[in-house]
C-alpha cells in the first residue's frame, strides 16, 4: 500500500492506483480527455499533467502509478502553465463551433477551456479540416472537432468488442474512423456518443434537438429488456428527447444498449390516447365512463371460468398485482404472464432469477450458455461477460445456435439432449464444469419456451446441482429473461391459479368459445387470430398487435410516464419515475384497474401508490428491497424428464424491434434496415 502526499495531504492507496485516481479519492479534480475509468489508459492527451517532486517535468497523472513517498502537486504555477499549453494545442485544430455543436453545454473541452483556455487564439495559420465519416444511423460525426483522445477506439475494442474504429494516417493527417466507412454494427454503439468528450461523435436522432440546460432530467429504469438498465430520461415540454445511461455498477455500469437509448421515438407514435370501443368491426372513440362500464358489464356477464387475463412484457408490478387482486377476487383463475409460452413458474425463486447477479459474472471463471444469445437478449449481460473475459481466465461454452458474442467460445453443438447427458455425467463437458472454481450457467428464456420447457428447466437444475454450480457461497444458476415484467409477475404469482388455464389453455378456450373475455395487460406478442371470438379488453399504450384485435381499449401509460416497479432478471426491484404525463386521456395502469374495480362495485383496497406499494411488499418481500438482490433459497423446480432432441432456437430475431415501443420507433426501423436486414439477406441469399 503505497503512501504518498498530494497537495500536502498524505494518503495511502491500493497498489496500482494511478495518481489521477488518488487525486479523485481526495476530491481533487484533474482535467482529462483520454482517460476514462472503464477503458484502458493510453495517456495521449496530456491534459492531466501534475507536478511530481524530483521529476524533471510534469507527469501524466492518469498513467503514473502511485509510488511510495511520492510528492504530487496539482495546483502550482507549472501545472497550470502546462495544462494551458496542452489546451492551446488542442484548440489549434478545433473549430470552436460550440454555438452549432450538439455537445455544447455538456462538452468536456468546453468546460475545461473555461478553466485552462486562453481568451484569444495565437494561431494564425490555417486550421485543418477533416471529412466526416459515416458511422450509421445512430452516430453523427463532425470529425474536425475530434481531439484524438482515442476513447471511441478503445470503447469499440474493449467494451463493445467490435474492432472497427481506428486512427488512420499520421501526424496532421491522422483521422479517426472506420476507414471503410461502415456503420458501427454493435448493439452498444450509442455509448460512443457518451464516451466522446467533444462534439465529434453525437447522437444522430437527437441532432439539433435541444440544449442540455433546457432539459428536465428524470432518473428511471429501462424496461425494453429484463436487465433493468438505469437510465436518465431527458424531457422538455412533455416530450422525451433522449435517454442516457445512469451509473449503476451492479447492473449496467455506465452503458446502455442502443435499443434502450434510441427506441424512445416510438413513444410518440401509434399511441393509444383515449378509450376505444369496437362497434361493427370498427373502433370508435369512447369516454372512460363508457369504456369502464362496458368492461364491467363484460366481466360481470361471464362466469369466472370464462374469463382470462394475459399480462405482457412491459407490465409493471403495481398493475400486475392490482389486476390479480381484482380478477382473483372475482374467482378468475386463468391468469398468465408468460406470453412466450414459457414453462417457467414460481415454485422456487432461485429457479427463475439470475442468482449470480450481473456483477457476480466478474467472479466466474467459466460460463455455460444454454440456448441464448445474450448479446440480443440482455446486451449488458453480454458486455459483462466480455468484461470478465478481458480480465483473463474466463472460458465460455455454448449449447445452442452459434452466434458471435464478441468473445471466443467453445461450441458444444445444438443438441438439447446433451443437457441430460451433462447432468448424469456421461458427457465429458460435465468434468469441465466440475473443475471450474466458480462456474455459472445462463439459461436463455427461449430454451424454456419449448414444448419440453419444464424438462429443460429441470435438466438445467440437474446440471447445476450435479456439477457444483450451487454451493453455500455461490449460486451459478441463472435465467436470462427478456421481458421486464417477467420476474415481477412470477414474484407476484401472476400465473394460472388452481384450475386455471395457462397460455395454451386460454387461447384454446378462446378458439372454442370456452373463454369469453380476455383481458390483455399490454400483451402484444400474441397473434390476433388466436383469440377466436372472445371479447378482448386491451389495456396498454401502443396500437400494436394487442390493440388491433381488441374490442375495448383502455389507454395506459408507457414506462416513461409512470411511477412503477419492475423486477429485473436478477430479481432486483427498481422504480421507474414519471418523466412525462401519459398521452391524451391515458392513465397510469394501476389506476385504470383501480377505477375498473370501482365500476365493478368491488373497489380494490388501495387508493394511493403508497398503499399499493405496501400491498406489493406484503405480497412478496422482494418488493420492499429496492435496488437490492436478496439471495434466493435453492429449491426444486421444473419437471424431470428427457429433453427433446429438437435444437434450441433463439427467441430474438431482431434485436432492435422486440416490443410495442421499439416496433413503433423509426430509429429502430432504420437500425433494422442497416444492421439486421443485410445479415438476414446474407443468410438466406435473398439480397441483390
Amino acid at each position: 500500500m503505497p503512501k504518498l502526499t498530494i497537495d500536502g495531504i498524505e494518503l495511502e492507496v491500493a497498489p496500482g492506483t494511478s495518481v489521477l485516481q488518488a487525486c479523485e479519492q481526495l476530491g481533487i479534480e484533474v482535467p482529462r480527455f483520454c482517460y476514462h475509468e472503464k477503458l484502458s489508459v493510453p495517456a495521449n492527451c496530456r491534459m492531466c499533467l501534475v507536478e511530481m517532486e524530483k521529476a524533471p517535468k510534469p507527469i501524466a497523472s492518469c498513467a503514473m502509478p502511485c509510488g511510495e513517498g511520492m510528492v504530487i502537486k496539482t495546483d502550482t504555477e507549472t501545472v497550470h502553465k502546462a495544462r494551458k499549453g496542452v489546451m492551446e494545442f488542442l484548440l489549434i485544430n478545433h473549430p470552436l463551433d460550440c454555438p452549432i455543436c450538439d455537445q455544447g453545454g455538456e462538452c468536456d473541452l468546453q468546460d475545461q477551456a473555461v478553466g485552462y483556455g486562453f481568451d484569444r487564439g495565437r494561431y494564425g495559420e490555417e486550421k485543418r479540416a477533416v471529412k466526416d465519416k459515416n458511422l450509421g444511423p445512430l452516430i453523427k460525426t463532425i470529425m474536425t472537432r475530434c481531439i484524438h483522445c482515442t476513447r471511441c477506439i478503445r470503447f469499440s475494442d474493449e467494451i463493445a468488442g467490435v474492432s472497427v474504429m481506428g486512427a488512420t494516417g499520421r501526424g496532421e493527417h491522422m483521422e479517426i474512423g472506420t476507414y471503410v466507412e461502415a456503420a458501427v454494427s454493435s448493439e452498444m454503439s450509442g455509448n460512443l456518443v457518451d464516451v466522446c468528450p467533444v462534439g465529434a461523435l453525437t447522437s444522430k436522432p437527437y441532432a439539433f434537438t435541444a440544449r442540455p440546460w433546457e432539459l428536465r432530467k428524470t432518473e428511471s429504469v429501462d424496461v425494453l429488456d429484463a436487465v433493468g438498465s438505469n437510465i436518465r430520461i431527458d424531457t422538455r415540454g412533455g416530450e422525451v428527447l433522449r435517454i442516457l445511461p445512469r451509473l449503476n455498477e451492479a447492473v449496467n455500469e455506465e452503458w446502455i444498449s442502443d435499443k434502450t437509448r434510441y427506441a424512445h421515438d416510438g413513444l410518440k407514435r401509434q399511441r393509444l390516447d383515449r378509450p376505444y370501443i369496437r362497434e361493427n368491426g370498427k373502433l370508435r372513440a369512447a369516454s372512460w365512463e363508457e369504456a369502464l362500464a362496458l368492461a364491467a358489464t363484460k366481466l360481470k356477464g361471464s362466469a369466472p371460468e370464462k374469463i382470462a387475463a394475459i399480462a405482457g412484457d412491459l407490465a409493471d408490478a403495481e398493475s400486475l398485482l392490482a389486476l390479480k387482486d381484482l380478477l382473483g377476487g372475482m374467482g378468475v383463475a386463468s391468469l398468465e404472464s408468460r406470453q412466450d409460452g414459457s414453462a417457467i413458474d414460481a415454485t422456487s425463486r432461485a429457479g427463475y432469477i439470475f442468482n449470480s447477479t450481473i456483477a457476480g459474472i466478474e467472479q466466474a471463471d467459466h460460463v455455460f450458455l444454454i440456448g441464448t444469445n445474450p448479446r440480443w437478449e440482455g446486451a449488458l449481460v453480454n458486455a459483462r461477460i466480455r468484461k470478465r473475459y478481458l480480465q483473463g481466465g474466463l472460458t465460455v461454452t455454448v449449447l445452442g445456435p452459434r452466434v458471435d458474442l464478441t468473445f471466443p467460445i467453445e461450441h458444444l453443438g445444438n443438441d438439447a439432449t446433451l443437457l441430460n447427458a451433462i447432468a448424469d455425467g456421461s458427457h465429458p463437458y460435465a468434468e469441465t464444469l466440475k473443475a471450474a472454481k466458480k462456474p455459472l450457467l445462463i439459461l436463455g428464456s427461449g430454451a424454456l419456451a419449448r414444448p419440453d420447457g419444464a424438462a429443460v428447466w429441470a435438466a438445467a437444475r440437474a446440471v447445476a446441482e450435479a456439477c457444483g454450480l450451487v454451493r453455500e457461497d455461490w449460486n451459478g444458476f441463472n435465467v436470462l429473461h427478456r421481458a421486464a415484467s417477467r420476474v415481477g409477475a412470477l414474484d407476484l404469482g401472476f400465473l394460472p391459479a388452481k384450475g386455471g388455464r395457462d397460455l395454451a389453455g386460454i387461447l384454446d378456450g378462446a378458439r372454442k368459445g370456452e373463454v369469453e373475455v380476455v383481458y390483455l395487460l399490454g400483451a402484444d406478442e400474441i397473434e390476433a387470430q388466436h383469440f377466436g371470438r372472445a371479447f378482448v379488453i386491451y389495456q396498454g399504450h401502443h396500437g400494436d398487435r394487442g390493440a388491433h384485435r381488441a374490442d375495448l381499449i383502455l389507454p395506459g401509460a408507457a414506462y416513461t410516464e409512470k411511477n412503477a416497479t419492475y423486477v429485473n432478471t436478477e430479481g432486483r426491484a427498481q422504480h421507474t419515475r414519471q418523466a412525462t404525463f401519459p398521452v391524451g386521456e391515458a392513465r397510469e395502469d394501476w389506476k385504470i384497474i383501480r377505477a375498473l374495480s370501482g365500476a365493478l362495485g368491488k373497489p380494490l383496497p388501495y387508493d394511493t401508490l403508497q398503499q399499493l406499494r405496501k400491498r406489493l411488499a406484503d405480497a412478496n418481500p422482494a418488493f420492499a428491497q429496492i435496488d437490492r438482490v436478496t439471495p434466493a433459497a435453492w429449491g426444486a423446480f421444473g419437471t424431470a424428464g428427457a429433453v427433446a432432441a429438437a435444437p434450441f432456437t433463439l427467441p430474438v430475431e431482431n434485436f432492435y424491434m422486440t416490443d410495442a415501443i421499439s416496433r413503433a420507433s423509426a430509429t429502430m426501423a432504420e437500425c433494422t434496415e442497416a444492421f439486421v436486414s443485410p445479415a438476414v439477406a446474407e443468410r438466406t441469399g435473398t439480397h441483390g
Binding site: K131, K133, S163, V164, M165, G166, A167, T168, G169, R170, H173, E175, G177, T178, Y179, V180, E181
Partner: protein
C-alpha cells in the same frame, strides 16, 4: 484517411505460392500468439506482389492471415508512407528532399525529373511508367542528394546525372546503382583524405596529392 479516397482495386487478393511460403517463414519468426507482429513485412510482400501498391483486398487478406481486425491493418498501412494505397508508376522515383539533400541540391533533382518526365512530386506519367514523390531522409545523406528507386539508391546526383539516370530507365536499361559522380561507395570524392599512408601502401592515390 478513408477507403473512399483510394481506388477500389481488385475484389480479392492472394499471395502467390512462393510468397505464401515466404509469408509463412516470416510469421514463424515471431513467438506463438504474436503473429500480428508480422504485419509490416507481410504488407510489404503484398505490395511487391501487387505492382507496388496495396489495395484494400490485400490489406484484408493480410488481416485474415494474421487474425487481426482489418482496421488494425489499415492503421498500419496508412501510417507508414512506404505503403502505397494508390497505384504508382512502374518506376517509383523517391526523391529525398530533407535538409542534407536539399542543401546539396535536391531541388535540381526534382527539376530534372520535371524536365524529363513532365511531372512534379506526387504525380504519375500518363504512360504509367514513372511516379515521382518526395520522401524524408533516405538515410544516405553522406552521398546527398539521393533518389531511392525500385529498391536501389542513386546518389550524388545533380540535374544532368538525374536526367541521364531517367534516360537509362526510359530506354529500359538498368542504371548503375550508387554514386553517379565517380565516387567509390561513400569514400571521399577523388580519393582518401585520411589514413593517407595506409592508402598509399595499398596503391590508392589520396585526394590531396597530384
Amino acid at each position: 484517411m478513408s477507403a473512399s479516397e483510394t481506388p477500389a482495386g481488385p475484389a480479392t487478393f492472394e499471395f502467390t505460392a512462393d510468397n505464401l511460403a515466404l509469408a509463412q517463414r516470416i510469421i514463424a519468426k515471431y513467438p506463438e500468439g504474436r503473429q500480428a507482429s508480422a504485419v509490416m513485412p507481410l504488407l510489404d510482400l503484398a505490395q511487391r506482389q501487387h505492382d507496388n501498391w496495396l489495395p484494400r483486398a490485400a490489406m484484408d487478406y493480410v488481416a485474415g492471415m494474421l487474425g487481426m481486425a482489418p482496421i488494425r491493418v489499415y492503421e498500419v498501412a496508412s501510417f507508414y508512407t512506404m505503403y502505397n494505397l494508390k497505384p504508382v508508376g512502374k518506376h517509383f522515383v523517391q526523391v529525398c528532399t530533407t535538409t542534407p539533400c536539399w542543401l546539396r541540391g535536391s531541388d535540381e533533382v526534382l527539376a530534372a525529373c520535371k524536365r524529363k518526365l513532365g511531372i512534379g512530386p506526387g504525380e504519375t506519367t500518363a504512360d504509367g511508367q514513372f511516379t515521382v514523390v518526395e520522401v524524408e531522409c533516405a538515410g544516405a545523406c553522406v552521398n546527398a542528394p539521393v533518389i531511392s528507386l525500385d529498391d536501389v539508391y542513386y546518389e550524388d546526383l545533380d540535374g544532368p546525372s538525374t536526367e541521364a539516370l531517367l534516360d537509362t530507365l526510359i530506354r529500359g536499361e538498368k542504371p548503375k546503382p550508387g554514386p553517379q559522380n565517380g565516387r567509390i561507395n561513400s569514400a571521399p570524392i577523388g580519393g582518401p583524405t585520411t589514413l593517407i599512408e595506409m592508402a598509399q601502401r595499398n596503391g590508392v592515390k589520396p585526394a590531396s596529392q597530384e
